[in-house]
């Protein structure tokens, strides 16, 4: 059901954890649905994402997309990061089962929330 790439990210998720003094934190989903994703960001003065971590409660797809999105944004500028869509994350993983496209594929949304949080905090 899952692609090899999904299973790779699921079994060896990249960038799991939290960042204590994160510049931005974003969370989407809810436990009722069975999927929550939280993304922590460190952003430097040039708006480049220097570090990113995630914590996820959810199924295989939820964990794999979270892991994938952290790989995709590390070192990216914020405006580039904002262009990453859930669809793009799924594609980077070689696709997801149809049933998983909806609720478990929210990692990009979590990223966008984290960026919003950063922007808000920075008072821009």
């Amino acid at each position: 059901m899952y692609t090899e790439k999904v299973m790779d990210h699921f079994s060896n998720p990249r960038n799991v954890g939290d960042i204590k003094d994160a510049d931005g934190v974003g969370e989407v989903g809810n436990a009722k649905c069975g999927d929550i994703m939280r993304i922590y960001l460190k952003v430097d003065n040039n708006d480049v994402i220097t570090d990113v971590k995630f914590k996820t409660f959810g199924c295989g797809a939820a964990i794999a997309t979270s892991s994938m999105v952290t790989e995709m944004v590390k070192g990216k500028k914020l405006d580039e990061a904002l262009e990453i869509s859930n669809q793009a994350v799924a594609e980077a993983l070689g696709g997801l089962p149809p049933a998983k496209m909806h609720c478990s594929n929210l990692a990009a949304d979590a990223l966008h929330e984290a960026i919003k949080d950063y922007i808000t905090k920075k008072g821009k």
Partner: protein, 402 residues
């Protein structure tokens, strides 16, 4: 990697001897049981011998056994067959909220066709209350359909009491015994059961074969039309190899019943006690005592079932969960919700269903790897530990599209 199968409630491997017989009736003895030549008579004999063995497993007589394609067909035939045949007597059916979809969706269908269905609630252990049943009966009630044992949490219903009550009130009593038949002692006469569904692949017979017990005299009509097979109740060329397999598996189940129940219960109890004492934030689902010998069901808080299953699978262990992600729908198990679990807790459920082919070594291996996996997933979970305070900015509103 050695693989360990802990999902016997989903399906079981076919017993080697059963498989050998099935093979024989696919190749050498392949006749159609309706043919009058020697090939056909040989098949007919085998079918009738199997009928006797299936009947013996549950204390029925052979002419009360009707072969079907499995549990789902059996439930459909029992419920629709009785409903339509007794329509003149009444249109009310009582069932429970924790039935298998084969019963619930059949009841949905009947609701669209003018029947009224009462879904009895269950307590925190997944048990119906006899009081609720008694209160639900009206003078239009024609059928009570309550499962023998639940497929997710293993809870065994008070079947004997239900049977006695139904008999007293002159209402037919059907029980979906797909999980219990062959795995737990059943006596349809002692328990006053009028109809009972069983499915071969849940007790080491092949998939695609099952049986419906119908007590002599029950008024029922067929739902699949065609030839005069199964005394006009179930049309379609008899699945002779499947029937032979079901018969032999029934015979073996009967002979081995006590041994197996004892052995499997011990493994079950070991898992329950070790997990309960070694892993924090867990909840045993189902009844502490009145449960299927092979059923273990836990909710592990702060984690989600599918990712737990996948991690177990990577260790070679096959199990199941009531998480939405594995139920094919967007909601977690209707059984766990009916027992009062929150969605969160239901999402974190794990079902281990043991069979007689499981060993203590397998159980030990499982008990060894489980805690690491749970730690790892919880460490990854935003709901666990000190960071659990944050609230999601965007509570996924798409989730409840149905």
């Amino acid at each position: 990697m050695k693989r360990i199968y802990f999902d016997h409630s989903a399906t079981t491997p076919v017993d080697k001897n059963v498989a050998t017989s099935v093979l024989e009736y696919m190749t050498d003895k392949f006749g159609n049981a309706s043919s009058i030549h020697s090939f056909g008579r040989e098949a007919r004999r085998a079918v009738e011998e199997s009928r006797e063995k299936v009947a013996a497993l549950i204390g029925a007589t052979p002419n009360e056994i009707f072969f079907t394609s499995g549990g789902t067909e059996g439930d459909n035939l029992a419920i629709k067959g009785v409903a339509f045949a007794n329509r003149k007597k009444g249109n009310h059916i009582i069932t429970s909220a924790i039935e298998h979809h084969a019963v619930l969706h059949t009841c949905d269908y009947l609701e669209k066709h003018g029947f009224q269905i009462t879904y009895l609630p269950v307590d925190e252990y997944g048990m119906i209350r006899l009081e609720d049943l008694k209160n639900a009966v009206t003078d239009k009630t024609i059928l009570i359909s309550i499962m023998f044992a639940n497929n997710e949490v293993g809870t065994i219903q008070p079947v004997k009491e239900i049977g006695a009550f139904a008999k007293e009130r002159g209402i037919y009593f059907h029980t979906d015994a797909v999980q219990a038949a062959g795995n737990y002692p059943i006596d349809v006469k002692a328990d006053n059961i009028d109809l009972l569904t069983m499915s071969g692949h849940k007790f080491y017979a092949p998939k695609g074969i099952g049986a419906l017990y119908i007590r002599r005299g029950v008024r029922i009509e067929s739902i699949q039309h065609g030839g005069a097979h199964e005394r006009n109740l179930r049309a379609g060329t008899e699945n002779v190899p499947g029937i032979v397999g079901l018969g032999l598996a029934s015979e073996i189940a009967k002979n081995e019943m006590n041994n197996r129940v004892e052995r499997i219960s011990k493994l079950r109890d070991k898992i329950i006690s070790e997990v309960s004492s070694n892993i924090p934030h867990t909840k045993l689902n189902g009844h502490p005592k009145l449960r299927l010998p092979g059923n273990v069901n836990f909710s592990f808080l702060y984690l989600e079932g599918e990712s737990l299953l996948l991690n177990l699978d990577m260790k070679g262990i096959g199990a199941s969960s009531g998480s939405a992600c594995t139920s094919g729908s967007l909601d977690p198990s209707h059984v766990l919700l009916a027992m009062g679990l929150t969605h969160e807790v239901a999402h974190g459920s794990l079902r281990i269903s043991l069979g007689h082919d499981n060993t203590e070594e397998e159980v030990d291996y499982f008990l060894e790897v489980l805690p690491e996996i749970i730690d790892r997933l919880r460490a990854m979970s935003p709901l666990y530990g000190e960071s659990a305070e944050l609230k999601p900015a965007n509570p996924c509103s798409n989730c409840h599209v149905h």
